[in-house]
Amino acid sequence: MAVVIDARSAIRRSPDDKLLRLFPVGLRAELDGFYRRGTCIYEVRLRAEKCASIVCDTGNVALSCVLSRAELAEILTELCEHSLYAHADTICGGYITLEGGVRVGVVGRAAVSGGQVCGVYDISSLCFRLPQRIESVGENLAAMLRKKRCGALIYSPPGVGKTTLLRSLVARLADLDSSAGAMRVAVVDTRGELGVYLNSKALCVDVLSGYPRGIGIEIAARSLNAELAVCDELCGKADVDAVIQSRNSGVPVLATAHAQSLEALMRKSDFRRLHEACAFEYYVGIRRLSARRDFEYDVVSWEEADQLI
């Protein structure tokens, strides 16, 4: 099954956004200009001693603003509320999550100890990914998941719209006002991106903010009596074990993963193991069409996927 989705109802972020106030005046003015012209900005990328840029419908667009390392460090300090140490775990993981589900990729010079990143210094790039609220996405997929009470794995390369689709699916599946009935959905929001926009009062959603995915999925199955556990960006053995455990306990999981194609996904040993354990009944691949706001997705059943690989 392949469905084309027109997602032109994307809601643009307001230029008065708290986030904009963190940026230097020049950059703020440039971004404001884009907003005024009706451009939908998906990402703002700041690089030390290089032009800042944005990602919008037309692709990567360079800005004239060039920030120094000190300015980037100052922005990071503001992002961390003057408390870098309080965000050390996520910074070492390459990101910080801000209020409103904005994820900021943080890179610089890594300090490594015992094979683990224990600190990031001399910040060289900050990548602000602005969450999009697209309400027209995932209607058919939500109907299918609700009807079959099954799990699904959404895959695509980064930046295509997995998290947007996931958020929209959660809102649809857990909608208490829906005539089709609501599901009890537990959202394991490890990076603080999924809970955003799920603030309607008529949602049957439990959000586990900041929990590691493995632990969160386990809690969703054991303590919350969830009918569907949802998490973003599965990776690693602990996540895989938790998904299999949850599936075996009768709680389907709706998750996302980075992969170019189903074949590429199955070449990853962890996902191969998930497939062999029948953890997901469906695999959903997302592709963007020419304009960034339009994309389509392919839904492949477990049996079809098994034949493909």
Binding site: H82, S83, L84, Y85, C118
Partner: protein, 158 residues
């Protein structure tokens, strides 16, 4: 009679000046102790809970802020700079130390922040010890100089 009243007034001014200077010397010591309490509290919040600075400052009791010399509304305090901006730091040494501390606080990882707190505490303790040991002598000198000065003015003028 007027001369006697004038002499008494000059002598009283000397006493008041001595009292004021001694009060200031005591206040400097109290302020340093306040800074030590503050740094200790911040260190604990960082070490045990990785608590962000604005929250750690919000949880600090009023007495600590008062000891530091901060009397304004604490609503506006988000960073240590905000706090220090609202205090008159009596000792230049302590002012320099606390400004350096504020500039580096929150800009490093946990172990760096704990080391920063420890270093600052050690230097504040040095300042406190030196102030505490000097305080009785300073009080005596202030008292003697001010009263003798006043007496000298009285003798010379009356």
């Amino acid at each position: 009679m007027i001369r006697l009243a004038g002499a008494l007034l000059v002598f009283c001014c000397g006493a008041v000046l001595a009292y004021f200077l001694n009060g200031r010397a005591r206040a400097a010591l109290t302020q340093v102790e306040g800074f030590m309490d503050l740094v200790r509290r911040l260190r604990t919040e960082i070490d045990c809970f990785s608590m962000p600075i604005p929250l750690a400052l919000a949880l600090c009791p009023d007495e600590v802020f008062k000891k530091c010399g901060f009397d304004d509304s604490r609503e506006c305090i988000r960073t240590l700079d905000d706090l220090l901006g609202g205090c008159e730091i009596l000792l230049p040494e302590a002012a320099e130390l606390m400004e350096g501390f504020a500039a580096r606080l929150g800009r490093g990882y946990k172990h760096e922040q704990l080391a920063l707190c420890d270093g600052t505490l050690a230097r504040l303790e040095d300042i406190r010890l030196s102030l505490a040991s000097e305080l009785p002598v300073k009080q005596k000198i202030n008292g003697t100089l001010c009263l003798c000065g006043a007496l000298a003015v009285v003798i010379l003028t009356v």
